[in-house]
């Protein structure tokens, strides 16, 4: 769980950097034929020279031998998104289904659920998935989007560098440094779905080389389209945060940052329901509180090596009608990147994480024992060899010990071939694991009348193993030349030991009752095949169009009873997803941006006993903005314009439908 993707991308990808770029100033400048050619040209001629462009995002992609997409700050700002989950709709191959106003199913390459667990999510290198079920509570992942520098998404395994849970993808959310967020910024918006939101940020300097920012934000989200029922999914969240960055002349830097949030999330249905057992009733509000503090030190130890040390503490508290959950996480991480000679770049690191979790069930739900301390210790090493100037091989492995399933090795081999300057072909084979969670190890719930004899009991087990993936990937990227940018990735994944629920032999418990145990086992296998395509056409500087398509075919093969129908996950992700975006700079400082998405049906979901699923849908967002006066930007945004409302994900009693909506926003100081 790991590391700025920046470093990862650098290491898996940009070894050429060491050969050519990394510290070119230090090398004596060899006479460059092109420079003298260019100097002979007149200004007129110079403005007519065709160039290859290096945009910041594309530059980071480099010749990375992985399916990486970077969502930039500008793309987020010019989308209709008001939250990170919505911004992820822009990424091909990522599925985003909004189940209620504040619950999301976000997945990469299949296995969608509101507790999607085969995805690693990092916020400024801090892991934000919960060891409770290895998914992410997206409702509390709040950002001032103006200060998000980029969201990097790797589809497919990233486990060698980032560690377990990076099975089907890694999402790394990176905020801007304090230096990049100087001065006063404020925004306020009002609308039909996000009823009101406001944020203020101020950035200043400390001494010669230090920068800081502080910010605060509040958001109030309205209920989705739910019809008459006693519950509602509106929510409120307040968030304050701060960050400081110091840079020294020799390239060392120190970052300290932290957040605090508090909010209330309305739920449409209880988080845990057992048919035949009474659950919580009335309005189902979850109180959420949390905070974190992170420190990072980076130092360039020589012209060809750098080190990074990072430590964080994270605390989350959820008071859910079904349980009370407290989690404290302490994580320390060290890594070094070093060039060995001209042809190799080695990156290695060690890390340790301590998680103290207390989960007290209310009524139905229970973990046994309620409190647990779990550790995770890991080390990794990865070497990138430049075989020829155009051919790079990256091999590495992660070795990790966790308190759930013991030792896990996650190796990978990747090869990249730069066919010509802007074109890269790559292929990879990797193994990744999804380690067990507290739910799978410690759960203890009576699923039939607890007073009856015999009683059916859902039981965790220490014997539950990690789920395993062997992934084969291939990709092509034409990355530098505009006006056309193309990125294609295809994969074949083979899964083994996927979670299943199995009824086992009855036993008599100490109270003399017969218990029919239903246990978490690893008796389902599966395989998936898919393709993701992203194309950008930039016909003119003021008009950019971007199209994406993703195809996924997942087959699951239960070899046991699969009591909870985990095999139904094969239908939980749309088979086809299509996206089209357009960004236009109009005269007089207007911008007109649009985003069309079309998804095929969610065919079936484990909780949908009927097996009917949810129809596919097509939706359109439009944004008109004007930034013609001073430091002010006014925008008006329409969301889901094509239908009055549509369902996206989840069984009927648990979901709300997403309504057509609009909001207007004023931002000052961008």
């Amino acid at each position: 769980m790991r590391r700025a993707i920046l470093n990862g991308v650098r290491s898996i990808a940009v070894c050429a950097l060491v050969v050519y770029g990394s510290d070119s100033r230090a090398q004596s400048p060899a006479p460059h034929p092109s420079i003298s050619e260019l100097k002979k040209l007149s200004v007129d001629q110079l403005t007519d020279v065709e160039v290859t462009l290096v945009s910041r995002a594309e530059e980071r992609l480099g010749g990375a031998p992985a399916a990486i997409t970077v969502v930039t700050n500008e793309e987020i700002r010019r989308s209709a998104a008001t939250s990170v989950p919505e911004a992820l709709r822009l990424v091909p191959g990522i599925y985003v289904g909004r189940q209620t106003s504040n619950t999301w199913a976000i997945s990469s390459r299949g296995f969608s659920s509101i507790t999607s667990e085969k995805l690693l999510v990092l916020s400024d290198t801090r892991s934000i998935y919960t060891p409770l079920f290895s998914g992410v509570f997206w409702d509390v992942q709040d950002y001032l989007l103006q200060d998000v520098d980029r969201i990097e998404v790797i589809r497919g395994p990233g486990a060698t560098l980032w560690g377990s849970n990076a099975v089907n993808g890694v999402i790394n959310i990176t905020t801007k440094s304090a230096k990049e967020t100087q001065g006063l910024y404020s925004e306020a918006s009002a609308g039909t779905r996000d009823r009101a939101s406001a944020a203020v940020r101020y950035g200043g300097r400390v001494g010669d080389r230090g920068y800081y920012r502080v910010f605060g934000s509040v958001v109030d989200r309205d209920v989705s389209f739910i019809g008459p029922r006693p519950t509602a999914d509106d929510s409120r969240l307040g968030h304050v945060g701060a960050r400081t960055d110091w840079e020294s002349l020799d390239g060392s830097s120190v970052t300290i940052q932290g957040d605090l949030y508090h909010g209330t999330m309305g739920r449409l249905s209880p988080s845990v329901t057992i048919i035949g057992r009474p659950g919580p009733t009335g309005s189902l509000n979850v109180d959420v509180t949390g905070g974190n503090v992170l420190g990072r030190y980076r130092r360039k130890t020589s012209s060809t090596s750098d080190i990074e040390l990072r430590v964080y503490y994270d605390r989350t508290h959820r008071d859910d009608p079904s349980y009370l959950d407290d989690l404290h996480t302490v994580d320390a991480d060290f890594q070094q990147r070093a060039a060995i000679g001209a042809r190799q770049e080695l990156i290695w690191g060690v890390s340790a994480r301590l998680m103290a979790n207390h989960n007290q069930g209310k009524g139905i739900f229970a973990l046994q024992p309620p409190s647990s301390r779990d550790n995770l210790v890991s080390g990794f090493a990865q070497d990138q060899l430049t075989l020829r100037t155009s051919l790079r091989l990256t091999v590495g492995t992660k070795l990790e010990h966790n308190d759930f399933s013991g030792f896990e090795a996650q190796p990978s081999a990747r090869v990249a071939w730069d066919i010509s300057a802007p074109q890269t072909l790559w292929a990879a084979v990797s193994r990744a694991v999804r380690v067990p969670t507290r739910l799978e190890r410690d759960i203890a719930i009576d699923v039939t009348n607890p007073a009856a004899n015999p009683v059916g009991r859902l039981l965790g087990t220490d014997e539950f193993e990690a789920e395993q993936l062997l992934a084969y990937e291939i990709g092509y990227r034409r990355q530098v030349l505009r006006p056309v940018f193309i990125d294609v990735a295809a994969f074949h994944n083979r899964y083994d030991g996927l979670a299943s629920l199995e009824i086992e032999a009855p036993f008599v418990d100490p109270t003399g009752r017969t218990v029919i145990p239903i246990r978490n086992r690893n008796l389902t296998a599966g395989h998936s095949t898919g393709v993701e395509v992203l194309g950008t056409v930039m016909a003119r500087e003021e008009w950019r169009v971007n199209a994406s398509y993703a195809y996924l075919d997942l087959t699951l093969d239960p070899r046991g009873q699969d009591v909870n129908r985990g095999r139904f996950f094969d239908g939980a992700t749309p088979r086809h997803q299509f996206g089209l975006r357009s960004f236009v700079d109009l005269p007089a400082s207007f911008q007109l941006d649009g985003q069309l998405r079309s998804l095929s049906a969610v065919r079936r979901l484990p909780p949908l006993v009927s097996g009917t699923g949810i129809d596919g849908y097509t939706e359109l967002d439009l944004r008109l903005a004007w930034r013609g006066w001073q430091q002010m930007e006014l925008s008006i945004v329409g969301q889901n314009l094509l239908h009055p409302h549509h369902p996206e994900f989840g069984p009927p009693e648990q979901r709300g439908e997403m309504e057509r909506g609009m909001y207007s926003k004023v931002a000052w100081g961008f």
Partner: protein
């Protein structure tokens, strides 16, 4: 953020040019098309200084371009600055995109100095003088003459002819 200075495509492939090469040559050309007021130089021998403020995207390119060059009897040198407060006696200043959050501060600090400010992000020419505009795989120029005039710089019509002109009072 150390060493994000980008490897270009393999140098064996020469055409088309890397945009940074073209921009570096532009910075050199500006020296030939701009007249500075005499107080911009402390003596008859002082060099013409091309500066980069913030993260330097050019690496060694800029040094190569100006190496051994003289313009109107003055040597050319390259200087790199971390903070705008350090910018003293600089004639052409490329403001790196890494400083985009601080344009107000930078351009306010420089408003009385005879420094030709050059940038490349969209709003730069509101208060800066020249912006590199990349369109259709070409590097074009956008010039705000009013800002240049206000500090006593004269830009030759030979340069302006191939540039898009904006004025301070407009977008």
């Amino acid at each position: 953020m150390m060493s994000m200075l980008v490897a270009g495509p393999a140098p064996a492939q020469r055409a088309p040019f890397d945009e940074r090469e073209v921009k570096a040559v532009f910075l050199f050309n500006f020296v030939q098309f701009v007249d500075w007021p005499s107080h911009a130089f402390s003596s008859a021998e002082s060099p013409i200084v091309i500066g980069v403020l913030g993260d330097d995207p050019f690496g060694a390119l800029l040094d190569e371009v100006v190496q051994g060059e003289t313009v109107r009897g003055r040597r050319l040198t390259v200087a790199r600055f971390r903070r705008v407060e350090d910018v003293k006696s600089c004639h052409v200043l490329f403001v790196s995109p890494s400083e985009s959050g601080m344009y107000e501060h930078i351009l306010t600090t420089l408003r009385a100095q005879p420094t030709l400010t050059v940038g490349e992000t969209p709003m730069f020419t509101r208060r800066g003088m020249i912006r590199f505009v990349t369109e259709q795989n070409r590097v074009r120029l956008e010039v705000n003459i009013d800002v240049a005039k206000s500090v006593g710089l004269t830009i030759s019509s030979n340069l302006l002819r191939s540039a898009r002109i904006v004025s301070a009072t407009r977008g």
